[in-house]
Subunit: 340 residues, 2 copies
DNA sequence: ATTATAACCCAAAACGTTTCGGATGTCAAG
DNA sequence: CTTGACATCCGAAACGTTTTGGGTTATAAT
């Protein structure tokens, strides 16, 4: 059915070797033969069997991504943007992106074992790192090329791209405090996640810097979704002394917070200030528009993609650790000063 | 470095054949040998080389998705949800999802050629179909198993899952007309896209059914993004007689429309009704909440996933064409009746 | 006339697995 | 003692490619 080198060889009366070499422009085949081979290959609709090529070359030209069960969903816009950047970048190098989903939480490592040891992948993208990440431990241990989108707290040396969440959150608190807010609440994800850890650090330092006490009851943990934000805000707003500003771990959560605030009949930006993190497209078109911390998602994705290809080729990275400076984007959701 | 069957064979003093058969629980190997083999395989950290398995079995256990250049972005929530459903479903069957990006518009078909003919894929998911889709033509012609998320206008027989866009849009117009609106505008994507075609059909029939004239100047084409919706709405609202209701091809566009309306100082749901299509999570938490047509994205993804696996195994589908009934979800953005 | 050089070609091995078609040995039935 | 059945094992081929290490022929240099 499908045509192979052998078929071409038979057709042009040459050996398989010669056909292969002709197609690869080796200089020990005559130009007539080369032309002939190439022409008939085209005519017969030949396409190389990549599986065979890979077996022979011991390379896969594929970078893998294993979606953790409790990680970001494919429908998370910020994550989607990062991923699009990665996909685009590696595509231009002829690499593919292989996405597997871990079936169960514990399955995470087993999935790695199977896919990675099975040599399907040349390098791996690790997303949403945890403070002490088993996956990274495993990959380091197996000597498998990988790049992480995020850091860990352990003192391990591995390539990553991350945004300086602490600094970003610090700037947020700074901004909100300058507007006169004193009761600033924070809706976060699981503190096991490294980026949450750093955001908390930035939050606490920012509060201290503004000479505000950090009230632990104002820090609530929630799902990193709109629904999570909505619920978290409901809890916060039901306190006897509700916060006047609510900061969220990401924009999705912040959008949920805005909904909750508005459903309580309060006005975002006047009664309650709301701040997000990520700067997803939606942040610019919500109402009111959302003050947030900008992350260059697509660009980070591209950098990740380049690094993934480099490590797949066994190159050592000139700049293995990239920490991106975030920038505060002030919009309407923190719009008005308070008069206190 | 990595351990192969041969290594195990040497270790346990058996042939490669026997080791392979032992690991696969063939009944012509003694239980002692089987145990021995399995134990040493585990001890040595053996994992089969999938590439070799694939070459031998002529299967890839992979379904492919080639992202068209002008298709939905990975960051489109509705698309992400569908994709998540697909990924989840095929993962439970041990399949992987391979995502490639087409480098250039024209490259679309070439990408198919290379990846598909190169036997990397057992089946292919085609998204965002066009009225006369070259990709589907190609896949049919090559006899390559695939499933489409969307229909075509040609009378070809192939498996697809789609939502009845015409019926959905018909219901939208019906609803808006019942509220008293007469100048109903429509912001669509390219009419080359099949779903836009059907939406237009439903729109026109709905208008006719409500005895309203269809004013072609009220139908504007835009990018299927928030930005596109924003711009489209600006154009419509600058007309001397602006519409009182704006219907959009999807929720993203509708959210952009809402922004534009609000930026003009108008109130969505009172001054201008806005309707979307898809029912992304955001539609429920936007302000005002968005009236839209619900699509069971994740469920459609699962069905697609099951079909993709079936066709990959060469099975004939019991129900190759699935047309899902959409349902109108009435929320605040069409909130108030008009008094005309 | 011999030798060196260049131009062109190819057989065979290798990548790691699965499977077909025996081969060998043992034991019970005839 | 032979035959057949059974249990256990294995060699070799196959999947399609790339690469190694040649071989053959014709031409140029000695």
């Amino acid at each position: 059915m499908t045509v192979t080198l052998k078929d071409i060889a038979r057709q042009v009366n040459r050996s398989v070797t010669t056909v292969s070499r002709a197609l690869h422009d080796y200089d020990d085949v005559s130009s007539e033969t080369r032309e002939l081979v190439k022409r008939t290959a085209l005519e017969m609709g030949y396409a190389p069997n990549v599986v065979a090529q890979r077996l022979q070359k011991q390379r896969a030209d594929t970078v893998g991504l294993i979606l953790p069960v409790f990680g970001p969903r494919l429908s998370d816009p910020h994550f989607g943007d990062v991923l699009a950047g990665v996909a685009e970048e590696i595509a231009s190098a002829g690499f593919d992106l292989l996405i597997s989903m871990a079936d169960s939480p514990s399955d995470g490592l087993d999935a790695y074992r199977q896919k990675i040891v099975g040599r399907r992948l040349d390098s791996v993208l690790v997303i949403r790192t945890q403070r002490h990440d088993q996956r990274i431990r495993f990959l380091l241990h197996r000597n498998m090329p990988f790049v992480a989108n995020g850091r860990v707290l352990d003192d391990w040396d591995f390539p990553y791209v991350d945004v300086d969440h602490a600094k970003g959150m610090w700037a947020v608190v700074q901004h909100v405090a300058e507007l006169g807010h004193q009761r600033i609440a924070f809706i976060t994800g699981s503190p096991q996640l490294t980026f949450v850890h750093y955001q908390l650090e930035g939050f606490r330092q920012g509060m201290a810097n503004a000479s505000l006490p950090t009230d632990e009851s104002q820090i609530v943990e929630a799902d990193l979704t709109q629904r999570g934000g909505y619920k978290g805000a409901q809890i916060l707003l039901s306190h006897t002394i509700p916060p006047t500003a609510i900061v969220a771990s990401n924009d999705l959560v912040a959008l949920g917070v805005m909904s909750a605030v508005q459903d309580q009949g309060l006005e975002v930006g006047r009664d309650v200030a709301v701040v997000g993190f990520d700067d997803i497209p939606m942040a610019d078109t919500s109402h009111p528009t959302l003050t947030t911390v900008h992350q260059p998602a697509a660009h980070m994705g591209q950098v990740l993609g380049q690094m993934l290809i480099s490590v797949a080729w066994g190159k050592t990275l000139t700049r293995p650790q990239v920490l991106v400076e975030p920038s505060l984007v002030i919009r309407q959701s923190t719009g008005l000063d308070l008069w206190l």
